[in-house]
Subunit: 290 residues, 2 copies
């Protein structure tokens, strides 16, 4: 008999995770560890032998079987694959089932996935990650204390929103709700922009050879701190950029403006402006690291 | 009797460190731990009570006394203070003494400090640091295995260059020589640019409030990795920007170009270009982290 969920409400039934990598796998482990649902079934384009042997999912099924058997379906592939997966899920889905996702962009998902499921879709974005990816890196505590943003549309069914909220609270996450457009701008700022900043920095380093010297040989802390971000999965980040282009390019413009402010201060030798800007950055840093 | 230095040559005599913070203090500790010199004396604008009680320097003296007593004087204040310190040192300096520094920029130092000491000045830049600054953070192993770049001018005395090389080898550092202009471009790329990149990112985060939401509340790994760099000492980084303006603004231009390449790929929905760029960044990252 499953353990009662931490939130006190009744256990969810069968949760199907489509795409069992770091995030989908950690979700499955967290739900099982906390008794939030009766069982977790997995579907993936790749074989799920590893997820099964690690005990991450109880059964491996096809996407169509997952749709037919699940009370909650969680899309956890790269975002670019969501529309295709959603089309395969739709015909078999039970009317009372709920669909959610773990994608890093939300307006695109609402537009390309939401309409297939009418009021039964509720977008979600758990704010968690690791340097390593893949199901081998999945852990049951990945979402413990982490934010999970829900972006329910105004016409979504109240019980669907409550089910998705219960799902994520049942992983240990702190659930917050905001409009999809606000979400996409917030994460363009704190996540998508920083990744592009790091990727571009590697490109600049790559094409710089003063006096024939490779600067990478002398990289100290300054550059090294950026390398974890620059090592992120290229396909995942391609998809994020392509599915949140307006917010991301607007943030890039804002950022290039702020670089230009520093450049002009350097050019005119304005030490006071530089010091003031650097001190302001320290104060923002303190807000970020709280 | 002092222990023989690791390099096998004779011990240096009295080394004077002017500016006993993280770098100057760690240099003093490393020289003492390895028996590279007979004694280390310290001079600083602030009282050296802490450096004395921690055993970082053997004696605390004035800048003028340091100049009169030292075989090697190491300038280790913020770079902006070097010209003033050099003017105070010059009259008392013994003719056979050697002057070096630990500054992060080298062309500026050669132009503003070098001429005061003719062939007795040899610039140096140890590539080491920590999140914490100040003499309390100093350790004898800070330079162990780290690069130290020397930028001897063509007219510097051979024995002065050899003394400074022996000084830094006697901290455990790996000594490399390059022209000052090459140094300044290499470090504009791998150190000064990354700091400006991080400072500007904090400014962008600070002025972004989508739907009234503070993005800093939702900062995940992406942004957090940049915060250590953005927390660096504002005065030190002001001085670096003001004393290496040409290389720094040229690197900013190159970097804004690379951001623009990514932005255009996003705008035209060119997933192949984005993926290729992100994969190239991963390869640079591997060079950097080696």
């Amino acid at each position: 008999m499953p353990q009662a969920p931490a939130s006190g409400g009744p256990a969810l039934g069968t949760v199907a995770v489509v795409g069992v990598g770091l995030i989908g796998g950690s979700l499955a482990l967290a739900l099982k560890a906390r008794g939030t649902c009766r069982e977790v079934i997995g579907a993936d384009a790749a074989p799920l032998d590893k997820a099964l042997s690690l005990g991450v999912v109880d059964r491996a099924v096809s996407v169509e079987e997952a749709a037919a058997q699940a009370d909650v379906v969680v899309l956890s592939t790269p975002v670019g694959a969501f529309p295709e997966v959603a089309r395969r899920i739709r015909p078999a889905l039970r009317p009372e089932a709920v669909v959610t996702d773990t994608g890093s962009v939300k307006r695109y998902v609402l537009e390309h996935v939401g309409p297939l499921f009418k009021g039964r879709f509720v977008g979600a974005h758990p704010i968690a990650g690791k340097e390593r990816s893949g199901v081998e890196a999945a852990t049951p505590d990945l979402f413990d204390g982490a934010h999970c943003i829900l972006t329910p549309e105004i016409d979504c069914d109240a019980d669907a929103a409550e089910t998705v909220s219960r799902l994520w609270r049942g992983t240990g996450a702190r659930v917050t709700t905001m409009p999809a457009d606000v979400h996409d701008q917030v994460f363009a700022c704190v996540s998508h922009l920083p990744h592009l900043v790091a990727y571009a920095l590697m490109a600049t380093v790559d094409r710089t050879r003063p006096g024939g010297v490779d600067p990478a040989s002398f990289a100290a802390g300054g550059l090294r701190d950026f390398t974890r971000v620059a090592g992120s999965d290229p396909v995942m980040w391609r998809d994020i950029c392509l599915t949140n282009p307006d917010a991301v390019t607007a943030m890039l413009d804002a950022y290039v403006h702020d670089l230009g402010v520093l450049k002009e201060a350097i050019r005119r030798g304005d030490g006071e402006a530089l010091r003031t800007a650097f001190e302001a950055a320290q104060r923002v840093r303190e807000r970020v690291t709280q």
